[in-house]
């Protein structure tokens, strides 16, 4: 799967969550949107919800069994969950086995 498709999947997951909780910025969410932090699109429970939804989507629809919240993600100097684009990069890293 290429990065553009992964970014679309992440953006879709973020939009779905934002819509489900009545977020007002659903249409503005893009690949470069900050996912967390003071101006982030998600609160803490929202980030968890999106990551779980993403794992399920990748597993059920695309046959990619990934665990996004393991020690590898937590030990990085910069969180891979900053934006949909960085998250897509991280999924690519995991699925290519380049993260160890």
């Amino acid at each position: 799967m290429d990065k553009a498709r992964l970014v679309d999947i992440v953006v879709s997951a973020v939009r779905d969550y934002a819509a489900s909780v009545g977020g007002g910025r659903v249409a503005e969410i893009s690949g470069s949107t900050a996912l967390f932090g003071p101006r982030g699109a998600l609160d803490s429970i929202g980030l968890v919800s999106v990551l779980v939804a993403l794992e399920q989507e990748l597993g059920e629809a695309h046959g990619l069994a990934v665990s996004l919240m393991d020690e590898r993600a937590m030990s990085r100097e910069r969180s891979p969950f900053r934006t949909p684009e960085t998250l897509a990069d991280y999924v690519l890293d995991i699925t290519r086995g380049s993260v160890s």
């Binding site: 489900s20 429970i45 919800s49 779980v52 399920q56």
Partner: protein, 236 residues
């Protein structure tokens, strides 16, 4: 328990015998789709009951179990973490391997089922998780150091998960039964049981029905403002 138009789905771990089997029969008999799991096959055959072999202490098996429930039913309304392991013995005579087995089943198993069940429940933004503790925790029963410690962990897990999952519409509570006549307590000497019952407010052993009634209250869709609590039976 009828949440929404479709039949509610409940998972009961450790459903092959004892309290777990009683829970499975109780809720399947009330019209729920009950999925029971245990390491071994079950001989329970009744409408609304499905048995899946799974060891709750094995992460991959728990993931597969919940995935199977998602595939078959598309929802999970309630999960009862009943699977448990015990060994009554003086702490000085308890092998490390026994302690590890108890902790794996009772603590790790409960955690894994909570985690995976919540992932399926959060799709509907509602769910009920009931963990099983024991009156051995408040009574600090001698001979049950590891077992009671594992259930203390379950109670702490319950309180913290209640906070972490509350925003997802999922409540997490625990029930602490008094001794019920099951295989788990069959190996405990009668005088020990009698001494325990003497310390309870209500002077009798518990029954499976006592447990079923309280679990039924906790998993009810109407019980939506109660979470993070451990309800002890019999008044320890």
């Amino acid at each position: 328990m009828t949440a929404g138009a479709a039949t509610s789905v409940m998972l009961v771990t450790g459903a092959r015998k004892g309290i777990g089997r009683s829970l499975a029969e109780w809720f399947a008999g009330r019209g729920l789709e009950v999925v029971g799991c245990s390491r071994e096959e079950s001989d329970l055959v009744m409408a609304g009951y499905t048995h899946i072999r799974a060891d709750v202490a094995e992460e991959k098996q728990v993931v597969a179990l919940i995935s199977e429930i998602g595939r078959r039913f598309g929802r999970l309304d309630a999960a009862v973490n009943n699977a448990g392991s015990a060994s009554m013995n003086h702490a000085l005579l308890t092998p490390g391997s026994t302690a590890e087995r108890i902790l794996r089943t009772n603590v790790l198993g409960t955690f894994l089922v909570c985690r995976e069940a919540a992932k399926l429940m959060m799709r509907a933004r509602r769910g009920r998780i009931v963990n099983v503790s024991t009156v051995a925790v408040p009574l600090a029963l001698e001979g049950e150091a590891v077992y009671a410690a594992s259930k203390s962990a379950v109670e702490t897990l319950t309180r913290i998960l209640a906070h972490e999952l509350g925003g997802l519409g999922i409540t997490v509570n625990a029930i602490g039964p008094a001794p019920v006549e099951t295989d788990l307590v069959a190996s405990v000497p009668k005088e020990k049981i009698d001494a325990l019952v003497a310390r309870m407010a209500l002077k009798r052993l518990g029954t499976a029905v006592d447990v079923c009634r309280v679990v039924e209250f906790l998993v009810s869709p109407d019980t939506d403002y109660l979470t993070g609590q451990t309800l002890y039976l019999g008044g320890p």
